[in-house]
Symmetry: C2
Subunit: 339 residues, 2 copies
């Protein structure tokens, strides 16, 4: 397996983005987030997504020069137009602004309408936690999943993120509404394996753990069946009602590319305005201890808190280099060559 | 099937609560919420829960005279001690206060520590929507579910609610973190049926759809496996960090009865501070139309938006009376007899 050091990957991706016309600062931020995603094991939205993002820029679906502009300021709530700028820089701006409001008022809620794909949603949870804030964020997307009870795709696979800062490792939940991502289906199929649990429906409408079959029907399963389906609908509607942007149904009609013209919600809360660090440490560590000391389901089985495995992968990949698909790495290096 | 009219049920439950020592106003509010839960089809937390609530009062686990007292006011955020008062009146107070803050500031976040079981969490979503506000709320609970990867119960089955006001019927998601409730397991077992999907683990650690087996192992399945498990942990920690109250681990140690000394979060947002009613109507109705016109999974299958089935049950039960278990109804009538 080929492994690439963090700095080399980041520099290469940055060159690719500069070549695509991105301004220096934005190219640096986007390269960092893509590299961090691969570093943390979210390969689908890291290096592997660079070519597609460049393609979107070339098609004019992302405006590399655009930044968020404010549309409304309600004090605790601020609403921005993302102006179809890079989803990553827009989202970083919005979460940062939420933490700035929270630093003064305890809580900040910032929304973006008319933005583009933010890549790995967890990035903005880690961002809030890194600054010492509780973070909650989500995005809507185009239709890419059937609702519970439907055969055709009609709801978004909207990721939902919650993050808690913690000295020894932030606690971060980053979950999409489908039980498995298309990335997981592909990886599992390429290994000739089955999914650990049913992940969608076959042609006859039966649940199946065969990844290839689900890739064909496009009938991926919402997590928890009707629960993930309903949650996806609510996240979509809240995104729109809080930002004035397009719903999933609207993105289907007017958006260009995956998540084109989507909208996003960023909430930051300053935990130290509510409790002392000592209280917080006790609450977090007491809960993690309760998890870690529970009887494991399998002998010697390990129990992870949300975000723990990302951190583990991060440390491993920082030490050993980030594993890459050689074909993809070569193509990104090609995009990075000076012309 | 015996059906009881709404007003008769409410009056009977109110008498039972008055007999248990509750003050007039609180008894009226609690009786209304219990009756509404049964009316909407959430039988487990309606009439069926009255005896247990009275038992908690008798044991001194709920202080029928207590109301929330403010502990901190951060502007948008207010934190209250629930003083172990009735979970229903505490929660109604908190969501109402959140809407009052939101009416001025756009958003209000109110938390309760040291409160008691709020019964049906959806009630406070409907409450916010009824007043014209977006609502989000959740509670933590004692350990009653194994985390993903554990055999022993160590996390709460914390319900999460999101609500959107809509003239033709509010859109309300009310979901616990387990795939099925213990109530559903019991009802399914009594009918000698199997669950529609695996709902927990058997003695050997295999997934099973046999409700009785899961009731014995107490190993109910989090929705979406690791996803519902992680979400439950985050909801628990956010409850505590936002309220200064006990975590699930703390409730396990110090709480009395189900949800004794738990903490809760209530968020209200005024949607009309952000968008016009016309925009909102279009966003909601466009999305519901997209759901309703999707290809159904089964021929002539119906697709429901979150909250739609509760509303349907409500209308049916208001017309025909609320179905009751005769034994339970007789026992509540007994509690309601003057002494």
């Amino acid at each position: 397996m080929t492994r690439i050091q963090f700095d080399e990957m980041k520099a290469t991706i940055k060159l690719a983005f500069l070549n695509a016309g991105m301004p220096e600062e934005k190219a640096g931020i986007c390269a960092e987030i893509h590299t961090e995603s691969s570093r943390d094991g979210v390969y689908s939205h890291g290096l592997n997504r660079v070519e597609r993002f460049v393609d979107y820029i070339n098609k004019g679906w992302v405006d590399v020069n655009a930044s968020p502009t404010i549309e409304a300021n309600l004090g605790t709530i601020e609403i921005y137009n993302g102006n179809l700028g890079p989803g990553i820089t827009n989202a970083i701006y919005a979460m940062n602004r939420a933490t700035e409001i929270a630093a003064i008022q305890g809580l900040g809620l910032v929304t973006l309408n008319n933005t583009t794909h933010w890549m790995r949603g967890g990035a903005y949870g880690w961002q809030a936690a890194e600054k010492g804030f509780l973070g909650i964020c989500w995005t809507n997307t185009e239709s890419c999943m059937p609702a519970w009870g439907t055969k055709s795709t009609c709801i978004g696979n909207n990721p939902f993120i919650m993050a808690i800062p913690r000295k020894e490792g932030h606690i971060v939940l980053d979950m999409a509404m489908s039980q498995f991502s298309y990335g997981k289906l592909q990886v599992t199929r390429l290994k000739n394996e089955k999914l650990p649990f049913a992940g969608g429906f076959d042609q006859d409408g039966n649940l199946t753990d065969e990844p290839g079959v689900i890739e064909e029907t496009r009938r991926i399963l919402p997590m928890g069946y009707w629960k993930g389906s309903g949650f996806a609908v609510m996240l979509d509607l809240f995104s729109t009602l809080l930002s004035g942007g397009l719903t999933t149904a609207g993105i289907d009609k007017y958006g260009k590319g995956s998540c084109g013209s989507c909208c996003q919600v960023f909430i930051a809360i300053d935990p130290l305005k509510i409790n002392t660090q000592e209280f917080i440490d006790q609450a977090l560590n007491g809960t993690l201890e309760q998890l870690k000391t529970a009887v494991p389901a399998n002998e010697n089985g390990e129990i992870f808190y949300p975000g723990e495995q990302s951190l583990k992968t991060r440390l491993e990949n920082m030490e050993m280099g980030i594993p890459v698909d050689e074909g993809i790495w070569e193509r990104v290096k090609e995009l990075a060559k000076s012309r």
